[in-house]
C-alpha cells in the first residue's frame, strides 16, 4: 500500500512540474505574444521593403497607431470588466469637434474642458450599464447613435476648423522622440499608467475581478457598479485623448471625418493585444502592440505593393490569424 502512495505522490509531483512548465510557457506567450507578432510582421515588411524603415516607416506606423491605441486602451478597460463600448469612436469625433470649436476661444483650457466632457459622456454609459443593468452592447449601440447625432448637430454637419491656438496641441503630432510622434508617446504613457493602475491598485484589481467573475467580486465586496462607471469613464476619457490627437494631426474635425472609423480598429487592437472579449484579461502594454499591428497591416500591404483590391482580404485574414495565435484559451471556458 505504501508503495502505491509513494508512486502516486511522485507522479503527482512530476505532473505539477510539467503543468508548471506548460503554464509558464503559456504565460510567457501571453506576456510577449503580441509583441513578437508585431516584431515579426514589421521585420517582414522591413526586409522585403528595405527603404521602408529609412523612409520613416516607424514614424508612420506609430503615428497611425496612436489614435487606435488610445481608443483601444479605453475599449480594453471596458472589455476587461466584461462589457463593450461601441460608442467610443463617436465620442472621439464629438470630442474632436468640441475641441476644434473651443480651442480658439478657450485656449489651453479647452482640452481640459473637452476631456471632462467626454469623460462624463463615458460615465453616462457606465451609469446606465451599472445601475439599469442593461447589456452594454445594446446600450452603447444606442448611445453611439446619440453621440453621432450630437456630432452632426454641434458641428452644423460640416467640417469645423480650429481658428486659433492650434499650436497648443499641434506639437503632439509634429513633435517626436526617437522617431516616435508625441501622440504615440502619449498613448504609451497612458498604457503604462493603465498597466500600473491595473496591476498595483485595488480598483484596478477589482475591475479585473469583476471581469473574471462578477458575482464572486460582488460577494468579495468589490464595488462592481462604481468600477463599471470608472471603466466607461476611462473609455470616454481616452476616446477624448484620441480626439485631441486628431485635432493635433488635422487641425479640424468633422462628423464623418478622421476618428469616425476608429471603432472596429480599436476593438481589433484591444483583442489582438490579448484583451479577452469576455472580460478579466487585459494587459495595457500588449494593447500597444495590438494597436501597432492593426495599424501596420494596411500600411504593410501598401508598402509591400499588394494590389489594393486584395488589401481588405489580407486585413481580415491577418486579424483572425493573429487573434487565433495570441488568444488566451482556458480549457473550461465557453467561447462565445
Amino acid at each position: 500500500m505504501s508503495t502505491t502512495v509513494a508512486t502516486g505522490a511522485v507522479s503527482t509531483e512530476k505532473a505539477t512540474k510539467d503543468g508548471l512548465l506548460q503554464r509558464r510557457a503559456t504565460k510567457l506567450w501571453q506576456a510577449v505574444g503580441p509583441l513578437v507578432i508585431f516584431v515579426i510582421m514589421f521585420a517582414v515588411v522591413a526586409i522585403l521593403t528595405p527603404t521602408f524603415i529609412g523612409g520613416g516607416g516607424v514614424t508612420i506606423v506609430a503615428s497611425s497607431a496612436a489614435p487606435i491605441l488610445l481608443v483601444a486602451l479605453g475599449q480594453a478597460f471596458v472589455l476587461n470588466i466584461g462589457s463593450i463600448d461601441l460608442s467610443n469612436a463617436a465620442i472621439t469625433v464629438l470630442g474632436a469637434i468640441l475641441l476644434a470649436m473651443t480651442l480658439g476661444p478657450l485656449g489651453a483650457v479647452a482640452p481640459l474642458v473637452v476631456l471632462i466632457m467626454v469623460t462624463l459622456f463615458g460615465a453616462v454609459n457606465g451609469l446606465i450599464v451599472a445601475f439599469a443593468q442593461v447589456p452594454s452592447f445594446a446600450l452603447t449601440l444606442g448611445t453611439l447613435g446619440i453621440f453621432q447625432a450630437a456630432a452632426l448637430v454641434v458641428s452644423g454637419a460640416t467640417t469645423v476648423y480650429v481658428d486659433a491656438n492650434l499650436d497648443l496641441v499641434a506639437w503632439l503630432y509634429t513633435g517626436a522622440i526617437a522617431m516616435l510622434p508625441m501622440t504615440f508617446i502619449l498613448g504609451v504613457v497612458v498604457a503604462v499608467v493603465a498597466w500600473l493602475f491595473l496591476r498595483f491598485t485595488r480598483p484596478g484589481q477589482g475591475m479585473t475581478a469583476v471581469g473574471k467573475n462578477e458575482s464572486g467580486a460582488i460577494f468579495s465586496a468589490v464595488r462592481n457598479r462604481g468600477l463599471k462607471v470608472v471603466a466607461y469613464s476611462l473609455s470616454g476619457f481616452m476616446a477624448g485623448l484620441a480626439g485631441i490627437t486628431i485635432i493635433a494631426q488635422a487641425g479640424s474635425a468633422s462628423p464623418m471625418g478622421l476618428g469616425s472609423d476608429l471603432l472596429l480598429p480599436g476593438i481589433a487592437a484591444a483583442i489582438v493585444g490579448g484583451t479577452s472579449i469576455s472580460g478579466g484579461v487585459m494587459n495595457p502594454l500588449n494593447v500597444i502592440f495590438g494597436a501597432l499591428t492593426v495599424a501596420l497591416v494596411p500600411i504593410a500591404t501598401t508598402a509591400l505593393g499588394f494590389d489594393p483590391s486584395t488589401q481588405n482580404l489580407v486585413y481580415g485574414v491577418v486579424i483572425i490569424v493573429v487573434v487565433a495565435l495570441t488568444l488566451t484559451r482556458s480549457r473550461s471556458a465557453t467561447v462565445k
Binding site: 527603404t51 480658439g104 452632426l152 454641434v154 460640416t158 492650434l166 468633422s254 462628423p255 478622421l258
Partner: protein, 382 residues
C-alpha cells in the same frame, strides 16, 4: 459656414465674436517656403493615386486616368484605396512615401480635414501633391509651399445650378422637387446643394423644394429615402435632384417600383456609365433630363500632371497665379440632346491624355481652368 454660426450653436457666444474676426488669419504657420528645390528626375518618381474606394465609377475613372498618364510618361503608379477611412488613406499614402521614391501624388480626400496631414507628409518626404475636391479653406497651397502644388476642383455651385436649371425647365418651371445630398459634412455636396438653392431662389420661384434628405452617397439610402418621400408626397414630386449618380440609381429604382418613373424627371452630377446607358435608352420617358459633365480620369490626370510638372521643374508653383494653385475647372451641362458630343472622350482616354500633355493642365477641353478658389457658399443658400 462662418465660425460664428457654429459657435452660437455650441453656446459660447460672446467669447467667439472676436475669434470669428481672427478666423481667417489664424491658420497654422507652416513655413511658406518657396526655396526652389532641385528638379527631380523622372526615373525617381512614382505616381500615387489615392481614391476613396476603387469601385465607384468616378473613382474607378480616377484610377484609369492615373494609369493612362503613368503609362504615357513611363512612371509607375501606386493606387491607394482609402476604403472610406481617413486614417487608412493617410497611413497608406505615408507608407508609399516611406518606400523612398519621390512621390507625385493625386488625392481625392476622404474628408477635408485629411488634407493638412497628407500635404505635410508629402512635403516632408519631398514629394509633390495635388488635392482634389476637399480641403480646409484655410489650407492655402501658396502658404504651404511648392510641394503642395495645387488644390483643384469643379465648381459645386455651378454643378447645382446647371442641374437645377435642366430639372426646372423639364418640369415646366413649377411643381415640387426633392433633393438627396451626399454625406452631410462634405463640401462637395454642400456646394452642389447651394447651387440648387441659389438657382431655385433666383430663377425658378415656382419650383418648390419639398424635402432634403442627405443620403450619404449611398444608393441604398437614397432608395429608402426616396421610397419614404414618395409615401410622403406622392405625385407632388415632379423632379428629383441628387448630388451624385450613385444616389440617382437608388432614387430611380424607388420611383420605378412606385410606377412613377415616367412622370418624374431626374438630374444629377457625374454622368456615370449607368446614367449614360439610361439616357441613351430613353429610360422612363427620358427621365434623366440633366447631368453635369466632368470625368474622373480628367481630374486625376490633370491633378497628377500638374504635380508632375512641378516635380520635374517645368513649373515653379510659387510663381503661378492664384487660380492655378487654387483652381476651379469647367463643368459642363449635359442634356440628352448634347450627350453624344461629350461621350467621345470616354472612348479615347489615352488620346485625351495626349492632349493634356500637349496643352498643359489648364487649357485642355472640355475642362479648362475657369476660375480661382475658394468657392464660397452664400449664407442664405447654406
Amino acid at each position: 459656414m462662418s465660425l460664428g454660426t457654429k459657435a452660437k450653436r455650441f453656446g459660447a457666444v460672446a467669447a467667439l465674436a472676436t475669434a470669428a474676426a481672427l478666423a481667417l488669419s489664424g491658420c497654422t504657420s507652416t513655413a511658406g517656403g518657396t526655396t526652389a528645390a532641385q528638379p527631380l528626375k523622372k526615373e525617381d518618381l512614382v505616381f500615387v493615386c489615392s481614391v476613396i474606394n476603387t469601385t465607384n465609377p468616378y473613382f474607378a475613372a480616377n484610377i484609369e486616368g492615373c494609369q493612362t498618364l503613368g503609362k504615357k510618361l513611363g512612371i509607375p503608379v501606386e493606387v491607394v484605396d482609402s476604403n472610406g477611412s481617413s486614417q487608412t488613406e493617410i497611413s497608406k499614402i505615408q507608407a508609399i512615401l516611406a518606400k523612398g521614391k519621390k512621390a507625385v501624388v493625386f488625392v481625392n480626400t476622404v474628408a477635408s480635414s485629411d488634407a493638412p496631414t497628407i500635404v505635410n507628409a508629402v512635403k516632408a518626404a519631398g514629394g509633390f501633391v495635388t488635392i482634389w475636391w476637399n480641403k480646409p479653406d484655410n489650407l492655402d497651397p501658396a502658404k504651404v509651399g511648392n510641394n503642395f502644388v495645387a488644390f483643384q476642383k469643379h465648381s459645386g455651385i455651378d454643378s447645382g445650378k446647371c442641374t437645377t436649371e435642366a430639372l426646372s425647365k423639364a418640369i415646366g418651371e413649377k411643381g415640387g422637387i426633392i433633393a438627396l445630398p451626399g454625406v452631410q459634412d462634405s463640401t462637395t455636396s454642400a456646394t452642389r446643394v447651394a447651387g440648387l438653392k441659389e438657382a431655385l431662389a433666383t430663377q425658378f420661384p415656382n419650383v418648390k423644394l419639398l424635402d432634403v434628405r442627405p443620403s450619404n452617397w449611398d444608393p441604398q439610402l437614397a432608395y429608402k429615402n426616396s421610397k419614404d418621400l414618395i409615401a410622403k408626397y406622392g405625385d407632388q414630386i415632379k423632379g428629383v435632384w441628387t448630388a451624385d449618380d450613385g444616389m440617382q440609381i437608388g432614387a430611380m429604382q424607388a420611383f420605378k417600383e412606385a410606377g412613377l418613373l415616367n412622370k418624374v424627371k431626374f438630374v444629377s452630377d457625374g454622368l456615370y456609365p449607368p446614367t449614360v446607358d439610361a439616357m441613351k435608352a430613353h429610360e422612363g420617358n427620358d427621365a434623366i433630363v440633366g447631368e453635369t459633365f466632368h470625368r474622373g480620369y480628367m481630374a486625376s490626370a490633370i491633378g497628377l500632371y500638374t504635380a508632375y510638372l512641378a516635380a520635374i521643374g517645368k513649373i515653379d508653383p510659387s510663381k503661378l497665379p492664384h487660380e492655378k494653385r487654387d483652381s476651379m475647372f469647367k463643368i459642363s451641362c449635359v442634356t440628352p440632346g448634347n450627350l453624344d458630343e461629350y461621350l467621345k472622350w470616354d472612348n479615347n482616354v489615352a488620346g485625351w491624355v495626349d492632349t493634356l500633355i500637349e496643352k498643359g493642365p489648364w487649357d485642355t477641353e472640355p475642362v479648362p481652368l475657369v476660375a480661382g478658389g475658394p468657392e464660397v457658399i452664400k449664407p442664405e443658400y447654406k
